[in-house]
Symmetry: C2
Subunit: 148 residues, 2 copies
DNA sequence: ACTATATAGTTTGATATAGAACTAATGGAG
DNA sequence: CTCCATTAGTTCTATATCAAACTATATAGT
């Protein structure tokens, strides 16, 4: 492959990634109840999976968004009482994010809303291929992350 | 794989896609000159590769964004004189988008700005893997597109 | 030909996000 | 102990995007 072909391939690849992201995000946004956005759901999901009591910073690191964006998103979740934000016990600059009961039940409810879509994708997609791609995607993510 | 594992895999997959898209987009945005955004560059690139004289609709189809978004993006390009928008000769509702000389030279300039980044990615990434993934990504995109 | 439906593009309002400038608290170097 | 660099979070501004309502033109069915 010459340089031009490499560039073209790279461009195509990221183009495809971008379109998939756009289509999947807007599809999920339309399915989520009550005007919630995927980014909100993703945070609830993160706290369920990894346990709550995380700092805003650690969450924004996990999703690779800016601190300002995280303030905004956590504010939205907090206003809906899906999370509770408390001062960090040993660091006056920091905070800790906890799930509320409403947050947990909302998460279950959101999962229910999303599952039909996810299940349909599972039916139509070759999951083995997806599973195979995952580590490669993670590698590419790591490279991008390193070069930030 | 049981249903839960399938769902988890699907979630992970789209999560990774989302993060890659976010990282690559913000990296590219920072590199583009003069406050231009990847979405602007992508349209210039589209018109260079496939030829200009396209309708706004066909461009928004290609990038899977809404018509309103395309109006906004084309407006930005037009205000910078990178494109020229003319009435469609045979359809009074429609328009045609052409590249200006400034648009073409800006595109070359943008390519120059982006190439170092792209080339570095090429160096650090296994391009064969990327090439292998591309058709699978296109298949997933097609499924999402069909279910819109 | 007339009318109803469909299509192309615009406008408006809401929201997600980045980036930069800011505040407050921490922690290390001298 | 004091001062400076670092870190956590917030605020502000700009912009990308979607969704829905809207306008104008085109097309199909009767």
């Amino acid at each position: 492959m010459n340089t031009d072909e490499k560039r073209k391939l790279t461009f195509q690849f990221f183009n495809e990634i971008g379109i998939i992201q756009q289509l999947s995000t807007t599809a999920l946004n339309r399915m989520l109840p009550d005007g919630l956005h995927v980014s909100h759901f993703a945070i609830l999901n993160h706290l369920i999976r990894l346990g709550d009591g995380k700092t805003p910073q650690s969450i924004s690191d996990a999703f690779q968004v800016t601190k300002g964006t995280m303030t905004h998103t956590l504010g939205a979740l907090s206003k809906r009482n899906l999370i509770a934000i408390q001062p960090h016990p040993s660091d006056g600059r920091s905070k800790l994010v906890f799930l509320t009961d409403a947050g947990r039940s909302f998460h279950s409810q959101a999962i229910e809303s999303l599952n039909p879509f996810v299940d349909q994708l599972c039916r139509e997609t070759d999951l083995d291929v997806m599973e195979e791609m995952l580590p490669h995607l993670q590698a590419i993510r790591a490279i991008l992350d390193k070069n930030r």
